[in-house]
Symmetry: C2
Subunit: 137 residues, 2 copies
């Protein structure tokens, strides 16, 4: 019942980038250092994020990563889906079957509520939101 390491790292990386968006480009070395994430693993994750289109990379000397669109338009859920970690509507907490509304177990209705809250939380929180509010990490 927890997000994968990759998703967790991705959220930390991108919210750090959102918080430091005044510096046009941030490179992997800086990010790995600031966030204490293994450099090699960070670059692996960043490559996936770049492929997804959320971030663009500039290669070569003085290269780095930057956002393509405003951080207010990037939702946490988009990050999670890169790593297959977003919560699909048909996901069952017990993993027994798929919800079809016809046949449901005793926990089904109780599961709907926290599921919807989490989906809403991920879908409606932008990078700007999470980078701008609360503690900075």
């Amino acid at each position: 019942m927890q997000l994968s390491n990759s998703s967790q790292y991705a959220i930390r990386i991108l919210s750090y980038m959102a918080l430091h968006k005044e510096s046009k480009l941030l490179n992997a070395t800086q990010l790995a250092e600031a966030l204490q994430i293994p450099y090699k693993f960070l670059t692996k994750i960043m490559t996936e994020i770049v492929k997804s289109g959320l971030v663009v990379s500039i290669r070569g000397r003085d290269g780095g990563y930057k956002f393509e669109k405003p951080t207010s338009e990037i939702m946490v859920n988009e990050i999670l889906s890169i790593f297959h970690d977003s919560i699909p509507d048909e996901q069952c907490v017990l993993g027994i079957g798929f919800c079809n509304g016809l046949c449901k177990c005793a926990l089904h209705d109780q599961w709907m509520e926290p599921k919807h809250l989490m989906q809403k939380m991920f879908q409606e929180s932008s990078l700007e939101d999470i980078a701008g509010k609360g503690c900075k990490f």
Copy 2:
């Protein structure tokens, strides 16, 4: 964001047993057949459950498994904790840190609500509840 296979199987096995508690003992072959769980994996899981004390096993001919205490007193959360799948209070959805109430991120408060609902769901649902209500599976 999903329970482990072992937890899912365990819930299915035990709720099936709760539903068939009139038959004093149920053996691994019957359970594996009825629930379509690989026999060898089922026995592995059952051995862990027996060790936890939720269920007692009778070895030898005509042996099998049965509950030690009433199914109304066995909570889903007890099953999950055998497989380290229950949700601890300090669990963070982002995995960034541990909640201490002093420093929290933008998602912390939004995460508390679904977390508490899930904890409550697991802690307050007994095997009798989930076996007796809703679809039988």
